[in-house]
Symmetry: C2
Subunit: 208 residues, 2 copies
DNA sequence: TAGATTGTTAATCGATTAACAATC
DNA sequence: TAGATTGTTAATCGATTAACAATC
């Protein structure tokens, strides 16, 4: 098995992937570490280190073959294996996430939607049906879902989290504007948009 | 002037703020560093270091006064000063961002929306009107806007970015699924959701 | 006072950067 | 070959953690 990557390296890899894809789609055969570095504003040695960490290698004087590198990253990041997930909360944010079809390139397949608004039950968003949240436990078990995307108001987030975990959910991508807590064996990513904005706004004002 | 914070510290501060607010709203007079640390899964010494970095202090044996601490963070992070921003792209994601009223607690005030769909021009989303993107330059200058939130398809992101910067925009919060490039004096935050998902999914599979 | 928690200095750890060797 | 770029080792830098003193 692969040696564990550092968190910063892991976070950079999907960003490299996006850039490699752009180059590949444009028909570029090779990309140099300094090009990636420049686009993401990191050090070029950093880029080569990260690439070395996933056991890929390039050609001195030429760079990295975009097609090969792309494939390598897809395997390493497991992007080609679609991970089925449920999305809870069919508001605007939930709709945006459900409709966006770019996630499939990154291994995410949202297969069903859940809401507690009777008006929304039964709707079809693309090929995804909206179910009542009370069906969540049953459906999670039926489809052996491991991942839930939470796009609900903050007040309901922890309650839904607890329910989902009780049904066997192993990872939660939380867009609710609140910090949810989970047992340590469950993975959670609190996508705190407001917090991200504050960082941006501080950088703007203080040139952090 | 305040000494510059490290990037990791700056990123943690808004998260502390969210927790302090929760405690404060619940009527808790004090919070201890170990409670914050536990909720965010960081070291409690880390928390105290971060608090020291913004020149706040608590009381040994008791903790940090939630009301005072909340106010201190609001001042430090400049949350009470509303930063006016324009949002470009009135799709589902744009709507979600425009309608969410929690941003005001974090200093973001989206004052107008822009789209290129004629059907959407003139609509009112809450108290925010939708204008045609061709009015963007004029409006940016009129209202002296410094921040733009981009919620448009990836293909249009760089073009809009360039336009916005030409009009004097200083910071861009980019939700488009592409990496945008800006001159070094402009602040950009590429909110790459797919990339964030990949990190979550890798953690799930490999227990990173 | 004793004990719990803060505040701070010192030690460690690991990420980043620099230097340079390898190579096409 | 010369030069550009990769790959890798060593040095630096800074963030995190540990230890412990201060204090209510």
């Amino acid at each position: 098995m692969q040696k564990k990557l550092s968190a910063p390296t892991l976070r950079r890899l999907p960003r490299y992937y996006r850039i490699i894809c752009e180059y590949f789609d444009r028909g570029e055969k090779y990309i140099r570490s300094c090009e990636i570095a420049h686009k993401l504003d990191v050090d070029e040695t950093q880029v080569r280190k990260d690439i070395a960490a996933i056991n890929y290698s390039g050609k001195p004087k030429i760079g990295f073959n975009t097609g090969e590198f792309k494939t390598h990253l897809e395997k390493f990041l497991n992007l080609t294996e679609a991970k089925k997930a449920f999305l809870i909360g069919v508001g605007n944010l939930g709709l945006a996430l459900a409709k966006y079809n770019g996630f499939s390139n990154y291994g995410l397949d949202i297969v069903a939607l859940f809401d507690n608004d009777p008006q929304k039950i039964g709707l079809k968003i693309g090929d995804k049906e909206v179910f009542h949240v009370c069906q969540l436990p049953e459906k999670i078990r039926q489809e052996a879902i491991k991942i839930v995307v939470l796009a609900i108001p903050g007040e309901q987030a922890q309650k839904m989290t607890d329910l989902a975990i009780k049904c066997g959910i192993k990872a939660i991508w939380n867009f609710a504007p609140t910090n949810i807590e989970v047992p340590k064996e469950v993975i959670v990513s609190n996508q705190d948009l407001a917090a991200d904005f504050v960082v941006l706004s501080m950088k703007l004002n203080d040139s952090y």
